[in-house]
Each structure stands twice: as structure tokens, then as C-alpha cells.
Amino acid sequence: MDFSLKIEEELFLQMIREFAEKEVKPLAAEIDELEKFPTELVNKMGKIGLMGIPVPVKYGGQGGTNQMYSMAVEELSRSCGTTGVVVSAHTSLCVAPILENGTEEQKMKYLPKLASGEWVGAFGLTEPGAGTDAALQQTVAVDAGDKWILNGTKIFITNAGFAHVYIVIAMTDKSQGTRGISAFIVERGTPGFSIGKEEKKLGIRGSSTCELIFENCEIPKENLLGKVGRGFGLAMKTLDGGRIGIAAQALGIAQGAMDETVKYTKERKQFGKAIAKFQNTQFQLADMETKVQASRLLVRHAAYKKDQGMPYSVDAAMAKLFAAETSMEVTTKAIQFHGGYGYTREYPVERMFRDAKITEIYEGTSEVQRMVISGNLLK
């Protein structure tokens, strides 16, 4: 078993760490405080290829691996959870399904602009009545000959306010159940398509989360993504990939909290010595670090399998489940170590704690991940 990184991955890590440290970290508090979508960062990331890592060069991408992509999300999230999810949702939930299911025309039309960061991507599956039970789609798409007509509402859509391209899942034939669901590419500005209210959130506050509203929204026939009736499978497969991204985000947030905690416990003194000198601190830190490293191995393993073309759905679920719960645990303990200061915005662990929570919820709750893992076990 070879656990070493490839030489290009080593070099990539060097680059992304420097970028996150210099460009992302200084903005993280402001992005959170002002609920500001990191448009400037998206431009910068686009320039150096971070918005299209696993996209082949012929589609304007970088020809990188999913491993690099997951490292990017991890390192960005280590500084700023919002920036991590912006890249993750864009790449995993919009770029990837087009790349994996799109026609050559669709790929040529959308991927170059998405991969360069000129356009941001989003993905619309969740509805008020269709959360974990995603098959209960109320949004409908009707075949009107030369076009599709969409009606319905999507909620909690990451990147919604700043995206240009949306992958939208809708029912095309209710009688067929999950086999009557299809996927579409919808562009911003399409008549009948509007962005609804923006959510006020606990964490990842800069990542514009809004409703998508379709009112007799007419989209061209050629914007069907994949085949009619295959949208549910496409959505599930998309989420498998997305889970690697969110697992990496959770891991990055946890690592960021570790960094802060290690530093703080060495500086903070109580009873005449640094709190790092107390065995209680040392043992807890050891447990935290072990879980973070275990998360990293799960994330890398899932990304590796995806890169190898092996089935990775269960691996991605395990990675996301473990990394998300580790992230929550580590950030909670990080605040405890910081004491009263940790509860204030003077220290970044407060933000990290809030950012971590969502990783147990979106792109499949921890319960959904357990269903996936046990389902595979008991089939």
C-alpha cells in the first residue's frame, strides 16, 4: 500500500497552502461577519485553475485529479469554510455532472467558462418537501415540443446568488417515480427563473444560499442533462462526488481548529504554566489529532478511488460521515480550550465551530451516510 503523495500532488499542496495562507486566511473573518460572497477570491482562484481542477484541458480545465481537488477544498477550508464550499459546490455539483453526463456541445459550451471561474456553478435538488427523501420532487418539467417548461421551487441552494449555471433536478414523469426524474442545465437570466430569498445561516455565512424559483421557465430542449428519466441517478451520483468535497471541507475546518488550538494552548497560561503542559490538554489534543488524521486518510482514499475509476460511493459516505462528526467534535473542543475567548469572535474557532455544523447536514446528513454505509453492508 502506498500512502505517499505523487510528486505533482506535493507541489500542488505547496501552492494551495501558500495561496490559502496569503489570500484566503486574511479575508475569512470578514467573509463571515459581513456574509460576503468571496467574489474576488473566486476570480483569483479561477486564474490559477482552482475552479476547474479535475476538468480536462480540452474543456478549458486543468487536467488535475480529484485528489488535488479534495486537497484544495481541505486547504481552503482550513482558512475559510465558506471559500471551501464555494469551490466544492461549484466543482462537484455543477462542473462534475456536466463533465460526466453532458453532450460534447454542452461540455464545450459550459465547461471552459466554469473551469476558468468566469461562471460559478450551483446545483438544485432540495425542495421544501424533498430533503433527505429527495425522490419527492415537486418541481416539474413539461416537454413542450421544442422546449422544456419548468415550474417549482428549490431551497437551500449553495452559490445561488452568484452562480451563472444551475443543474436543476425536476420531475418529468411522476408516474415513473424516481425513474421519472430528469436533470437540466439552467442559465441565470432565463425568463421565468428567479432567485428567491437568501438564507441567514449559522455558519458558512458568505456562501450565498438562496431559493431558486421557476415560473413557467422555458429552457431549450438541448439543456436536458443526460437522458430523460435518469435525473435521480445522476443526482445521487453527483452527491457521491460532492461528499468527497464536503468531507474535505469538514477536514479542513477541523485542521484549522487544530492549528489554532495547538498555538493557543502553548501561549495561554493558567496556574503558572501553559495549558499545553497539562496532561488533560495533551491527551485531548492527541485524540483530536488522531481523528483528524483518520478523516484525512478516508478523504484521500475516497478521492483516490474516484481517480482510479473504482466505485467510491460508500468510501465517500464514510469519509463525509467521519470527517463531519470529527469536525464538529474538534471545533467544539477547540472552543473549550479557548475558554471564554473561544466563545467570542476575537478568535477564529468560534467561526469554525459554526462552519463545521453544516457538514453534518448538507449533501446528505450523517444519517443518510449511515444509511448508505449500512445499506451496502446488509445488501
Binding site: K266, E267, K269, A274
Partner: protein, 334 residues
């Protein structure tokens, strides 16, 4: 090469705008020590426009036995090629055993060009120069970021060349009664090699501060944090009649100009009192301040490297200590 032909200790007396730079006097002070051990003489090389001739006497007052003066329009303002040609000619004619240059922008431009032209060794940024029993120049300089010291010799080539940073050596007391010889020479230039044309030379205001001259230096590091932290430090400096300096991190962050940077890539300082605020003490930084008379370090981290060399260490938060110090000083002054 017949080494015995090469004699005497030469100092390149750098002038800018006709003003001889302090480092030249410092080098003369060192050159005297070396010449004494060698039982040789100290020569100063003074290149410039017509106006510098009057300055030659001051070089004697600071320790030169002989001043070689070349003045002409090509030497008025420093250019690499004209100066390299002039000194090459002087070396050929006078055969010095040692040449010392200031490790200034000019010295560091000229020195290596000369060493390549003369095919001899050059040791940069020496902190100690002495003569060995074999009458060789022992040149000691910091290496590898400042902690490792290396003593370097140039055994088989002459002249032995080294540069020394301003503030490292001490000049002797000015002695107006010293006697010496001023020798004017003419340089035969190959003007076809003059390829760099000066369009303009601009002096900037910020350069007025010289932290190497400060008796009390308050030095801010990463622990200072923000703009506000630095403003507080400046207030404190004013109350103490001190100068403000900074570590590289702060300079890189743009909070203060490079001319106030202490350390390997900044300036070497040796004030009577150095106080480091939130300075952890990277090797590079310490290389530039460890010769200070008295060092106070204030840092959150008990184990910061600077604590190892501090005469007085305070473990604490500079963000609180700086304003509190200012407050106390104000009340004392009242």
C-alpha cells in the same frame, strides 16, 4: 601569483553626492588594526567628482596613511563599470593585500564585479576581521541565516576582499592632527564599456531615519498585530525618545518601510537598549540585533528564541503592555 608583492590595507571610501559615508570611516578604523598587525599602511581610495578632493583630509583624520584620489566626470556618480575600471587600475598599480568595502548597495554591486575581474575571493558582510599568524586575513561572517559563523580565508589570491555592513565596525576618534599623503591619479577609461546610462537619481524622504544610530530602539514584531498596535508603539517611542524598528514580517506586511528593518536582510543595530515587542527572534532578526548593549524581550511565548539572548525577558501580551507602559511614562513625566 607572487603574494609578497601585495601589500597594504585599502579601503574603498564610498561617497554619495560628495559626502563620504560613515561606513568608510568605520572601515578605516578596522583597517588600522589590520595594518598594525601586518606592519603595513592604510590606503583609502576616493573616487568622485571634483568636489570630493576637499574630503580627502578627513580620511586621514580617521586613520588613512595615504589617500588615492581620482576625480573626473565619469566618477562623479557611481556606475559599476567606471568604478570597476578605476579600482582595477589602482589594484594593478598599487597591489594591495586587502581591500575593504562597505556592504552597501554600491559596495555589494561593485565588490563582486571586481572580484570576478581580478579573479580573487570576496567575502560578504563580515562581522569580524583579523590577521592570522600566517599574516592572512581571517574573515568571519554569519552564514545559513545568521547562526552559523564561518571564518573564511583567501589564501592563494590577492587582494583579499571583503565587505562589511555599516554599523559593524567602530571608527576611531577623529584626529585632525594625523598626517598623511594625498595622491591624485588619473584613470585611463575604456569608455566603450560604459553601457548603463543614469537617467535620474532620486533621494527619498523616508531615508532620513537611520535606526543604526539610535541609542534606544523599540522593535515591533508579528505579535504587535495591526496598524493600531504599531501606532501605539510609535507613541511609546516618542515618550522615550526612541526610534521604532521592525522585524521582516512587519516590513513585508507593509506596516513600515524597509529602512527600519532589523536583521540579516535589513540593518545591523547595536543600540544601548533594544526592546523587542512581540518579536519571537528568528535567527535572521537576531543576527541584526544581538550585539545590542541591553536586550529586553516581551513576548507571549516563554520559549521564544529571543528569550535566550534577552537580558530581561517579560512573558506577556504586548497589546496590553505597550499602552500600559505609555500610560505609566506619561504619569511619571507629570
Amino acid at each position: 601569483m607572487n603574494k609578497s608583492e601585495y601589500k597594504n590595507v585599502f579601503v574603498f571610501a564610498e561617497q554619495r553626492n560628495g559626502e563620504i559615508q560613515g561606513v568608510a570611516f568605520e572601515l578605516l578604523g578596522k583597517a588600522r588594526d589590520l595594518a598594525k598587525d601586518l606592519q603595513e599602511e592604510v590606503y583609502a581610495i576616493l573616487l568622485g567628482g571634483k568636489d570630493v578632493e576637499t574630503k580627502a583630509q578627513s580620511l586621514i583624520a580617521y586613520g588613512a596613511d595615504k589617500v588615492i584620489v581620482a576625480t573626473c566626470e565619469h566618477l562623479q556618480e557611481y556606475t559599476t563599470e567606471a568604478y570597476a575600471q578605476a579600482i582595477t587600475q589602482i589594484v594593478t598599480d598599487y597591489k594591495p593585500s586587502i581591500i575593504l568595502l562597505g556592504a552597501t548597495v554600491i559596495g555589494r554591486d561593485l565588490g563582486p564585479r571586481l572580484s570576478a575581474r581580478l579573479t580573487t575571493g570576496l567575502t560578504a558582510d563580515c562581522t569580524r576581521l583579523e590577521i592570522s599568524e600566517e599574516k592572512e586575513l581571517l574573515m568571519t561572517r554569519p552564514a545559513f541565516g545568521g547562526n552559523l559563523m564561518a571564518t573564511i580565508v583567501c589564501s592563494d589570491h590577492r587582494p583579499q576582499m571583503s565587505t562589511v555592513r555599516p554599523g559593524v565596525m567602530k571608527s576611531m576618534e577623529k584626529d585632525e592632527t594625523r598626517q598623511g599623503v594625498i595622491e591624485k591619479i588619473k584613470i585611463n577609461f575604456d569608455e566603450s564599456k560604459f553601457k548603463v546610462k543614469i537617467i535620474e537619481t532620486v533621494k527619498e524622504q523616508t531615508s532620513m531615519v537611520d535606526i543604526t544610530e539610535a541609542k534606544v530602539l523599540l522593535c515591533g514584531g508579528r505579535g504587535i498585530g495591526t496598524d493600531q498596535g504599531f501606532e501605539n508603539l510609535k507613541d511609546l517611542a516618542q515618550l522615550m525618545n526612541a526610534e521604532v524598528a521592525a522585524s521582516r514580517a512587519i516590513v513585508d506586511a507593509g506596516l513600515i518601510g524597509h529602512e527600519r528593518q532589523v536583521g540579516q536582510t535589513g540593518k545591523t543595530v547595536r543600540p544601548d537598549l533594544y526592546i523587542g515587542f512581540g518579536i519571537s527572534g528568528a535567527i535572521q532578526h537576531m543576527a541584526g540585533m544581538e550585539e545590542s548593549e541591553f536586550i529586553v524581550a516581551i513576548n507571549k511565548d516563554r520559549y521564544a528564541p529571543i528569550m535566550q539572548i534577552a537580558d530581561l525577558g517579560i512573558v506577556g501580551d504586548v497589546k496590553q503592555i505597550i499602552p500600559a507602559l505609555s500610560q505609566r511614562l506619561k504619569s511619571i513625566k507629570k
